[in-house]
Symmetry: C2
Subunit: 439 residues, 2 copies
């Protein structure tokens, strides 16, 4: 019988404490499934005295993450401190250089330093597992890294941020504004006091960079991701989406194009019948389009202590089992650098919502400007509010919403057409543009 895997856990917050509990509760199952036991041998956390309801008798308390990572009695270093920098980074480097395996749930750190850490892991023979960094309990890292080796992936996209999906779900179902739903999300603990990292799309961008690297062999680089958040989405967009057979989701999308891998995060219209459109509240989902096969979608809890801990323990189990997959699916030295996709060259369908001035010739003017850019219209909805006359803005003619869905075109063409419409003075305010992603 092989000796048990000795695990050192840095960070005993919600996730860390749950990992200790799970390893205890699942002990026999883990031993049976991995061919060897798993034992928490040492831990470290900022406040040693804090009550956590954990039985840590027989567990060494290390002085620091660094000391824990260097401890020769540890086989596997589990980093649950968080943050893209210190002390997590140095501790992980120390562990990898010592040939230990590392398990982390830290998406920011992997997104920023993943390539460097993968090089260290490959050189010294340890594993570097980070299943919990994207989609928590959804095993998407393993699936992309190992499970789809037989599939040429053309696109990966998903709902990777529960906060945004919760807000969009509530806005749609209860016809509330972004601001109201954000406030509720904060009250429920789904959003931070400073929500910008989530609602502006940066959290999604970090996760997308990780998925793109695994799927397409790109170098992890958050700055290669075009990012647009959800704060400009209005209840009338969600209503219009419903009328037209779509739903609005904040998607992270990475796809193979003729000029390279395009990575982008933005509010997106997805067909209401797609699997991803059904994903509501804080749930996450990822869809993988493989060459010649129907899409594969994974749906599940994308956050939370128990869900994150379950992914961390699965990663530890792989270490115990002796699996040493390449951290980023292929040798880090072979990963290809990518640039941020120039969105003006992005091609796809567009949802356009305008407040058109209610006067003769408006529709014709808008149609002409789109035609000039060779943009074909799939559908158009023009509706007087409440069936009565349009609303009257402070100055000028009353206005009413016009909603257009275009066939595939370029973003450049759409932006030119909107500038021309604006110059024609047939619309009030700015046009709302939402990209459409077909399944």
């Amino acid at each position: 019988m092989v000796a048990p895997l000795k695990v050192g856990i840095a960070g005993l917050g919600t996730v860390g404490a749950e990992v200790v509990r799970l390893i205890e509760a699942q002990g026999n199952v883990l031993a049976s499934r991995c061919g060897r036991g798993v034992r928490v041998a040492a831990v470290t956390a900022r406040a040693k005295a804090k009550k956590r309801g954990l039985d840590l008798r027989g567990v060494v308390w290390a002085a620091s993450p660094q000391a824990l990572a260097a401890d020769p009695d540890i086989d596997c270093f589990v980093e649950l401190i968080g943050g893209a920098g210190e002390p997590a980074l140095s501790a992980i480097e120390t562990a990898l250089k010592a040939g230990k395996s590392v398990v982390t749930a830290n998406k920011a750190l992997i997104a920023r330093h993943g390539v460097r850490l993968a090089v260290l892991a490959e050189r010294h023979g340890g594993a570097l597992n980070f299943e919990a960094a994207v989609g928590a309990a959804i095993p998407i890292v393993k699936v992309l890294r190992e499970g789809l080796a037989g599939t040429r992936i053309n696109r990966v996209y998903g709902i990777l941020n529960g906060t945004c999906n919760y807000i969009l779900t509530r806005m749609e179902q209860e016809r509330l504004s972004f601001a109201e739903c954000l406030k509720d999300a904060q009250r429920l603990g789904y959003a931070e006091a400073d929500p910008s990292f989530d609602v502006d799309g940066h959290d999604t961008a970090q996760k997308l960079a990780i998925l793109a690297s695994l799927a397409f062999g790109t170098k992890l680089a958050e700055k290669a991701v075009f990012v647009e958040g959800i704060s400009s989405i209005m209840p009338e967009d969600l209503q219009a989406a419903e009328d037209l057979g779509y739903r609005v989701k904040l998607l992270g999308v990475a796809l193979r194009t003729e000029t390279g891998i395009e990575q982008r995060v933005h509010p997106t219209m997805v067909p209401r019948s797609s699997s991803i459109a059904q994903v509501m509240d804080v749930t996450n989902a990822v869809t993988v389009d493989g060459q010649g096969i129907a899409p594969i979608t994974l749906i599940g809890p994308g956050a939370g202590g128990a869900a994150t801990a379950s992914a961390v323990v699965a990663d530890i189990a792989d270490v115990a089992r002796g699996v040493r997959a390449l951290p980023l699916g292929q040798p880090a030295a072979r990963l290809v650098a990518t640039q941020q996709a120039p969105m003006r060259r992005h091609e796809g369908g567009y949802y356009i919502r305008l407040m058109a001035r209610d006067m003769p010739g408006t529709a014709a003017a808008i149609a002409r400007r789109l035609a000039e850019q060779n943009i074909s219209i799939e559908s158009i909805v023009q509706r007087r509010r409440n069936g009565a006359g349009g609303t009257t803005p402070a100055r000028g003619a009353p206005s009413m919403p016009v909603i257009l869905i275009t066939y595939a075109t370029s973003e450049d063409a759409v932006r030119r057409a909107m500038q021309a419409v604006k110059r024609d003075r047939v619309i009030a305010g700015r046009a709302q543009l939402i990209r459409i992603e077909k399944n």
Copy 2:
């Protein structure tokens, strides 16, 4: 550089030919991802002369599956012959006994002989991979075997048969009968000339037995699965399901109960809002309920040459990478035998559709019989057809449909109540019962 993995493929039908093509097309990617190349070194098939559009220059043609399995120049034997018995079984045994790894897409063979083959693989050190056997391109075998080691699984259920899901989808969407939709499925190649293996639930049962073994450590045994097919489902059941917020799917369900693992296949009412209810046509899906976390659902193509081949190649890639997971997730010797669940003890909600005689006292009589068995009613719909009088059967009073949804109760209680109602002569024909599965 490690020498390439030499693969021998037995069976060059749609899947086998596609595997050869994929290994050729993905060659560089596979080498990069696995740390070694993958090469088709030898093949065998019944008709050597058949045109397949494959470039098999430099590939040895083996005289038989048996000869291929025994060939010392082969590292990995890929069985794509099909059938639960010979020649697939002996060839796999030969390969495993020689210490080779085996990849197969053969669910019938794994369901029937999986434990014996797993013992051989464990003893001789080869891998035994069968991702394609369940849900084709959906990586559910890997996810259950390796990816959810940190999760205590309470229930696994899914839509595992594309033929049945296609028929139910068409019946619902076009209000057609089972017989009509079956005919269409046959015309489109989704159903066999003898469709009983699919529509009676046996295909689902074999796949469920495999999932249950991976999730719960049960001995693979198709006969431990209670099976009921979809041929009794009527368009009016699908209509009633829609009215009541449900959808009917043929599910395979394996769950942990106080008395052991219950495995069953039957038409099931699932909440319309669940991920699994959205899965239409030939698509497959599996949901895993883990302790303390939200469900994880995987959706994707459950059949087809390209989807199956992609799973086979992913299995081959794991062999090349050196991953040797226990075939059934834990040592075969530790798997626990299970009995077929006595369905009379099954607990859950029920959908009941009756043709009630339209005469005074009918509703009271039915309600009394249910109350006698302590069955509580969640909803009841009683509708005169077309708003006019009921239909008049050959003899007796006119009848009209009554639909009941019960709260959780036991199947025994429901069956007793229905017998009593029948004796009361207040219904015509037999009652339609469909079990409800809550998410």
